[in-house]
């Protein structure tokens, strides 16, 4: 206990130096928190997806390939499937915007909430959607951000299809995390395309299906793939988690890049903190000699110095992780498509790991000064005038 008190006093002795070291570690760790938080977001997406036993089928060639709408009915009838829907990305531009700010999907109103059974919609609004051919439902958080109310018109210019949409907002759905999506009737798009002789009709885009249990997924995946393997439009079926993984794979070796930056930062911080500790110790040479002269054992002197450097670094770590979390939360509010989760959903052991890393920086930075102090000869130390 006494040692702790002594350590604290020493930490507070040169407030300026301590503050600067803490801030230096804090800002760098805030950066690492945000970068790691982003990576965790990517994997949390997959983890989240694992809970719901959904599978996704795409044309084997990828997004540009065709998945005939008849496949949906067929898959829906398979043993082990709860329900299945088409899920086609529309890629429309809202009003006069130049870049897409939210995603729109063509799906099946009757079955969609069986596939995403964790999404909630009131029965009235669901009924209203079923009744309105041009109706659509929006994620409630997205609607709040856009300031939409029930009954609003949502006109969409198309970039991918040649058929513009004129949607009526008839309901909201609540998802565990903001999806930033609106859903409309697949049939509305398809009829529009057929009536204008445009390309792309009869295409389900993607197929989303919910299975009864996780255990039946491997067999179902094989079964669906085999069903269409020799057809003109073969498909690749995968779990929703694997599908999510594909998107983070697309980013390339971001993970490696972030890690190499992280290592550089940690290494440079260790040097910075070690520098600060060494400066503190140099000023205290006489004092340490006195402590040893009055009988403090080497181990205690070492403990005190290591404790001091760890405490300073850990304070920096706590500051850094807090700033980082604040940024992640802001990021989630500003751009839910990029930062799919708020801090609450991201809390996990990785934050403790970052704190441990900061304490580790302190430990490493304290080693040289503490060994030096422990080996300090009492006579030399007392004689030295600093």
């Amino acid at each position: 206990m006494k040692t702790l008190k002594y350590i604290w006093r020493n930490v507070m002795r040169n407030k300026l130096r301590t503050t600067l070291t803490i801030l230096s570690i804090g800002f760098s760790l805030a950066l690492m928190t945000v970068l790691h938080g982003f990576m965790v977001t990517q994997s949390a997406w997959g983890d989240e997806a694992k809970k719901y036993n959904r599978i996704v089928a795409l044309n084997i060639q990828g997004f540009s390939g065709r998945l005939p709408i008849a496949y949906v009915e067929k898959v829906r009838g398979m043993e082990g499937i709860v329900d299945a829907v088409p899920y086609a990305w529309y890629g429309g531009l809202y009003k006069d915007e130049a870049q897409m700010s939210f995603a729109q999907f063509a799906t099946d109103a009757e079955h969609a909430f069986n596939v995403w059974d964790e999404f909630k919609i009131t029965p009235d609004e669901h009924k209203a959607w079923l009744a309105d051919k041009q109706g659509c439902v929006a994620d409630r958080t997205l609607a709040e951000q856009q300031g939409w109310k029930l009954g609003d018109k949502i006109p969409l210019r198309s970039t991918f299809y040649t058929f513009p949409l004129d949607l009526n907002l008839v309901g909201f759905f609540d998802a565990p995390n903001n999806t930033g999506q609106i859903w409309f009737h697949w049939k509305y798009l398809d009829e529009g395309l057929r009536n204008t002789n445009a390309r792309g009709d009869g295409n389900a885009g993607m197929l989303y299906a919910k299975t009864r249990t996780a255990a039946v997924i491997p067999d179902l995946v094989k079964k669906i793939d085999a069903e269409y393997a020799s057809s003109e439009h073969p498909v690749r079926t995968q779990t929703e988690a694997a599908f999510a993984q594909m998107f983070s794979d697309m980013m390339g070796n971001v993970q490696g890049f972030i890690q190499s930056i992280g290592i550089a930062v940690v290494f440079s911080l260790s040097l910075v903190a070690a520098n600060a500790m060494a400066m503190s110790m140099r000023e205290r040479t006489t004092e340490i000699a006195v402590l040893k002269a009055i009988g403090f054992p080497r181990s205690r002197v070492m403990r005190m110095i290591l404790g001091e450097s760890c405490l300073i670094a850990l304070l920096g770590g706590i500051l850094g992780v807090s700033i980082g979390c604040a940024f992640l939360e802001l990021g989630h509010r500003a751009n839910p498509q990029l930062f799919a989760f708020g801090v609450k959903a991201l809390v996990g052991p990785w934050m403790l790991v970052l704190l441990a890393v900061s304490a580790g920086i302190g430990l490493v930075s304290g080693i040289v000064p503490s060994v030096r102090a422990a080996q300090l000869s009492v006579i030399d130390g007392l004689r030295r005038v600093v």
């Binding site: 800002f27 950066l31 794979d249 980013m251 390339g252 550089a264 440079s268």
Partner: protein
């Protein structure tokens, strides 16, 4: 004015502290320059792709080639338009191209990602900057052959010479590697437009028409005609504009780069301040002596600022030098505009290196400012009395 030698000697005397600070800031600058180099490489690849006189003609309303289609008859008419540049043989520099995106695996278990396969005709090559075959040979139309860049061959399964890329159960043999001046064409696989159309069994076999205008005036006239003439009613875009749009999608990467830079600079600034505070604290007597000798407050301020700047600049230069082994190293990421892989090389041009040096300068100046002010504020008598 206190001679610079004084600072250099001081840094040398406290060489351990100096070295640690220099390496510390060096690493920070290294990480920043690496990030800038990545962004710059991506921007370079996209901007070099846009030739000022070239037009890319899309369906009205389409954002990019993947969502566009143009009828064969229309494409033929475009080639015959007045104002399209001609090559030495008198053929119009105009090509109909078909773009499709396939999901394919990266090498070394790098996951799957989207790959652009472009069906080209003869003129496509002349329309790309510095197109040349660097290994193997060019593809022959009609026999399902394909070419790609060496980068892509390294990054994707089945893209090396002699390997076969499967498209709708048709095998396309890779017969050569090409270069195109580092443009985004080097992120694509090229095959003959008719071969890919038959493999894809599609009726809309043309996504876009690329052409070069004779000069600026004819380009403006062509744009006007293609856009407003009833028989076309298409969306012609000058290539620089088209690729600038894709650059907007790279804003995210740029933002990340800036974010990293700002945070690291602030962190390093505090570290520099720490070192300089210690320098000032341990040199109280020296400062007092200098003042007593008649050096102005101004020169003392400048002296300590300079020392801090030298310290950080050393780190900055070290950090910049440490990025050089990465120069030209190729990497890839998703181009969210086309939803597919784009490969590019890290680029540490003068601008990027200057940015790194400027950052270290900022660290030195801001980090050194308050310690230097403290040095100036020392009371001469007290400072001289100091042990």
């Amino acid at each position: 004015m206190i001679p610079l030698k004084y600072n250099v000697r001081n840094l040398r005397v406290r060489w351990i502290t100096t070295l640690m600070t220099v390496i510390g800031t060096g690493l920070v600058v290294w990480a920043m320059v690496l990030t800038f180099g990545l962004t710059d490489g991506l921007e370079h690849a996209l901007s070099i792709s846009g030739q000022p006189l070239d037009l890319i003609v899309l369906r009205k309303g389409a954002n990019d080639e993947t969502g566009s289609n143009v009828a064969q008859a229309t494409a033929d008419q475009i080639a015959d338009l007045e104002g399209v540049a001609k090559n030495d043989q008198g053929q119009p520099l105009c090509s109909a191209e078909f773009v499709t995106i396939l999901t394919k695996p990266r090498r070394n278990n790098g996951g799957t990602t989207n790959l652009i396969v472009r069906g080209v005709d003869v003129m496509s090559r002349e329309l790309r900057p510095d197109f040349k075959i660097v290994k193997g040979r060019d593809l022959k139309p009609g026999v399902n052959e394909a070419i790609t860049s060496e980068n892509m061959a390294r990054r994707f399964e089945n893209l090396a010479i002699g390997e076969k890329l499967e498209i709708n159960k048709v095998d396309f043999e890779i017969v050569g590697y090409f270069e195109a001046g580092g443009s985004s064409a080097e992120s694509e696989v090229w095959t003959d437009i008719r071969d890919i159309a038959s493999a894809r069994r599609t009726a809309d076999a043309i996504s876009s028409v690329n052409l070069r205008a004779r000069d600026k005036e004819s380009q403006a006239l062509l744009v006007d005609k293609l856009k407003n003439d009833e028989q076309f009613s298409l969306q012609p875009l000058p290539e620089p504009e088209y690729f600038a749009k894709q650059l907007e999608q790279a804003v995210f990467i740029k933002f990340v780069g800036l974010f990293i830079a700002v945070f690291l600079t602030i962190g390093a600034m505090f570290a520099a301040a720490n070192t300089m505070f210690a320098a000032v604290a341990s040199r109280g007597r020296e400062i007092g002596t200098l003042r007593a000798l008649g050096f102005k407050r101004r020169s003392i301020l400048l002296c300590f600022l300079l020392e801090s700047v030298i310290l950080c600049l050393l780190g900055g230069i070290l950090g910049c030098l440490a990025t050089l082994p990465f120069n030209g190293l190729s990497t890839g990421t998703a181009n969210w505009a086309t939803f597919s892989e784009i490969t590019f090389a890290f680029r540490f041009g003068p601008r990027v290196l200057l940015q790194g040096v400027l950052m270290s300068l900022a660290m030195g100046l801001l980090g050194g400012l308050i310690p230097a002010i403290r040095a100036v504020r020392l009371n001469i008598v007290n400072a001289l009395r100091e042990q």
